[in-house]
């Protein structure tokens, strides 16, 4: 790694001030950022640890659903959210591996917006709201393509509010090496309709599968997906799966998620 200064503020205001420095970079759980820095592919001047801020941690029920602090680890989400929102807890419990889940955080995952990450699918399908130190951002506005989000420079995700759907399930098909999602689908049946979010598959990052949402809003069963086809044009094609393969997975996994949720 290149050299950098390290700071660990204990409240959001101090963190925001630290993030205003030239070359500052937020450090959440570090499970992606630190390996990237070891490869010398990122070289911040200042690392601002967000793991020492109590107000950014924890899970509680509140207005609009379950509120999850951005620095809550995946393991804590898996444990503590299970009673409120099992589908989301299940997603968190399948990220990486146990040691990664003990460090990695929801905020870190969302800010990075890796096209194969799990949380973006859960957030988008849930219609969650991303709360930052400056504003609230709807999930539909937050994700802006691979590794791109609506966050401004220095802006810090502080929590996420998840409305709790009537039914939900996440089905992930592992990329066999990294255990990220080769493709994964989060299906959430809300009172106002069904949302289907797909991660790992598209060149544009996480996306909602509108045709499936329409079909499932009428008939929440895997059968409703039968007539649909998934266009492979925008799908990722790499060592682990062709675009056509991923398009197939989108449909297969959506069906399985619906079955699991129903």
């Amino acid at each position: 790694m290149h050299t950098f200064d390290f700071t660990k503020p204990s409240n959001i205001a101090d963190a925001a001030r630290a993030m205003a420095a030239e070359g500052a970079q937020a450090l959440a759980g570090g499970q992606t950022l630190l390996p990237t820095m070891k490869q010398r592919l990122a070289q911040p001047d200042v690392l601002v640890s967000l793991t020492g801020i109590p107000e950014m941690k924890g899970v509680c029920m509140g207005e609009g659903g379950v509120h999850i602090g951005a620095s809550t680890t995946h393991a804590d989400v898996a444990r503590e959210v299970a009673r409120y929102y099992p589908g989301l807890a299940h997603l968190a419990g399948g990220i990486g591996d146990p040691a990664v889940r003990n460090r990695g955080t929801m905020g870190g995952s969302l800010a990075n917006n890796d096209p194969a990450a799990c949380y973006p699918a859960g957030v988008l399908a849930s219609g969650a709201t991303i709360v930052t130190n400056l504003r609230k951002i709807a999930a539909d506005d937050f994700f802006q393509g691979m590794f791109a989000t609506a966050l401004d420079e220095g802006e810090i995700i502080t929590s996420v509010i998840f409305p709790i759907p009537e039914k939900a399930a996440y089905v992930k098909f592992n990329q066999p090496a990294s255990r990220f999602a080769l493709t994964a689908v989060f299906v959430a049946k809300h009172a106002e309709g069904v949302r289907v979010a797909v991660t790992g598959a598209s060149n544009n990052g996480v996306f909602r599968w509108a045709e499936a949402e329409a079909a499932l809003s009428g008939d929440f069963s895997a059968n409703a997906l039968k007539p649909l086809t998934v266009d492979a044009a925008d799908m990722i094609s790499d060592l682990h799966g062709s675009a056509a393969y991923r398009a197939n997975l989108v449909k297969v996994l959506t069906g399985r998620a619906v079955t699991a949720a129903a």
């Binding site: 390290f6 450090l27 570090g30 070891k38 690392l47 146990p98 990664v100 460090r103």
Partner: protein, 161 residues
């Protein structure tokens, strides 16, 4: 360089660290606790797993400064007070759960954290729980057996055993 202080294996320790010093380097080079190994640079292999405040973490992906003040346990702190092998260590020896021994410290730390969370896991839960620890020698057969044995459960009826 700054002095970073934490508790390691029950003792308060301090050693010099830069911002970029990883917890794994702090343990190995700063404290001479070389049981924690480095097997990859992408946070995948798990050879470096230690416990921080009771939780298994990959020490190659934690900054030493970020662990300042924490309670850290490494493989060197897993034996019983009289020096005999702890339950998980003993199960690994009894069931030949290690061959070259390189991944072993991380495997033992991950496995003991697994049982702390889930004292009587199924075979599938053990396998899933160890997915962040790569072993190239054992085909995992005897590792999984060792962890199940350490949990005090009867061995599953495996053909030919």
């Amino acid at each position: 360089m700054t002095k970073v202080t934490m508790t390691v294996n029950g003792k308060s320790v301090s050693a010099e660290a830069e911002g970029r010093t990883l917890l794994s380097s702090y343990l190995r080079e700063g404290l001479g606790l070389t049981g924690t190994h480095i097997g990859c640079d992408t946070s995948q292999c798990g050879s470096c797993v230690v416990h921080v405040d009771g939780l298994a973490v990959k020490s190659c992906s934690v900054l030493a400064m970020d662990a300042a003040g924490a309670d850290v346990r490494t493989i060197e702190g897993m034996a019983n007070a009289d020096g005999s092998l702890g339950v998980m260590q003993q199960a690994f020896q009894d069931h030949h759960g290690l061959q070259c021994g390189f991944c072993t410290p991380g495997m033992v730390m991950a496995a003991s954290a697994l049982l702390a969370e889930n004292p009587t896991p199924t075979e599938a839960e053990v396998r899933h729980g160890l997915e962040g620890n790569i072993c190239r020698c054992t085909g995992y057969h005897n590792i999984v057996k060792a962890v199940l044995a350490a949990s005090g459960q009867d061995m599953p009826a495996v053909a030919a055993e």
